[in-house]
Symmetry: C7
Subunit: 75 residues, 7 copies
């Protein structure tokens, strides 16, 4: 496989940038991607939680367990 072809490379390129994280329960978070690991456990900073598209709360730093995540998309 050529360089840059692994999924985690895409997450690595998004470090310190704003991403949207959508959960299996339909909620989503936006925030600055601080950290992730191979389980896709993810930490966002300056995060906001949305439910049905409406801002639910500002949560600051948040650790999201990887198995609850559907997608992560750079803003």
């Amino acid at each position: 496989m050529e360089e840059g072809s692994r999924p985690l490379d895409t997450l690595n390129a998004a470090r310190n940038k704003t991403v949207m994280v959508v959960l299996k329960n339909g909620h989503h978070f936006t925030g600055r991607l601080r950290a992730f690991d191979i389980h896709i456990n993810t930490v966002l900073e300056d995060a906001e939680e949305y439910e049905s598209g409406e801002l639910k709360r500002k949560v600051g730093t948040v650790f999201i367990r990887g198995d609850t995540i559907t997608i992560i998309s750079p803003a």
Copy 2:
């Protein structure tokens, strides 16, 4: 097993081509397959998300956690 007979070979042949990814929640994405790994974590570029067959949003680059995926089909 003869060459070309592994499932990931099919995904590898679809790299940089347009694929449809259907999720367990019924949503699907179309986009250019940029990367995948053995967990079927998948990255699409120029991706669009569909819900009930209707375009929901353009998401650009998107990382999709493998365990949320049902099928991947080359366009």
Copy 3:
């Protein structure tokens, strides 16, 4: 265990033959079995997807994530 007694042997014998793959969500696919692995990730060619027994669409080549599969049956 005597030769031929492992479940994957049955799948191997079905390579390049038409099989039916039933998913946990009740949908099923028919197609020619091109590839599978130990996770039961499966690739069909010339595949058709059925929902409630009705043809939903022709999907050509399709990669099916193993953990979504209930049964695979040679036609």
Copy 4:
């Protein structure tokens, strides 16, 4: 542990005999147990599928993914 005390020994003793396999979705199959592995992936021959206790279809040979199985009982 004394000989014969492992769960897979019970399945091994049922090889080539008729068993009932009940799935998590409530469907069940009867058929001759041809093969199984440590994941409880199972192959039945001359199998019949039942839904709500009614014969739904004869499926011949069927590979059943182990994680969909609740119980296996010799007839």
Copy 5:
């Protein structure tokens, strides 16, 4: 950890004795505990299946896949 302090020791002490096995779907079985393994795959003999507390059927020997089990309790 002192001797006798592991969960599987409790199951081992119940071998050949009558136990109740409750499944995640609410059904339960009673029977003589013949075998179990580290996945909690379990074999009962002279087993009876109950649904909503009512005897549903006598199943003789039954292999129960461990991941469907909630609790096992000696009678």
Copy 6:
């Protein structure tokens, strides 16, 4: 990490003491914590099962499969 900082240390300190175990299905058990392992498979003695906060039955010794457990709390 300093001593005493691992989650299983908390369970170890609760051995032979009364704990409450809440399951994913909402039921809970109280009883004396006899044993647990790294999967959080847990054995209680002199256990009582509660449903919707009401005592459902006394179950004596009970093996609880770890993956059905939400929380364990010393009384």
Copy 7:
């Protein structure tokens, strides 16, 4: 990866501080983070359980099985 970039580093920095833990069933706990491990099994002290945003009970020390957790957020 630079230092401080792993998700568990964020949890480590929150040790002995008040955190909110949200479960997959929608309940959440607040308490002082005493311990966690790589499965995200987590122990809180002086914990309170909330349901639909309302205080349900004070639970003192509580062990939370990691696979039931959605997010952990420092207060």
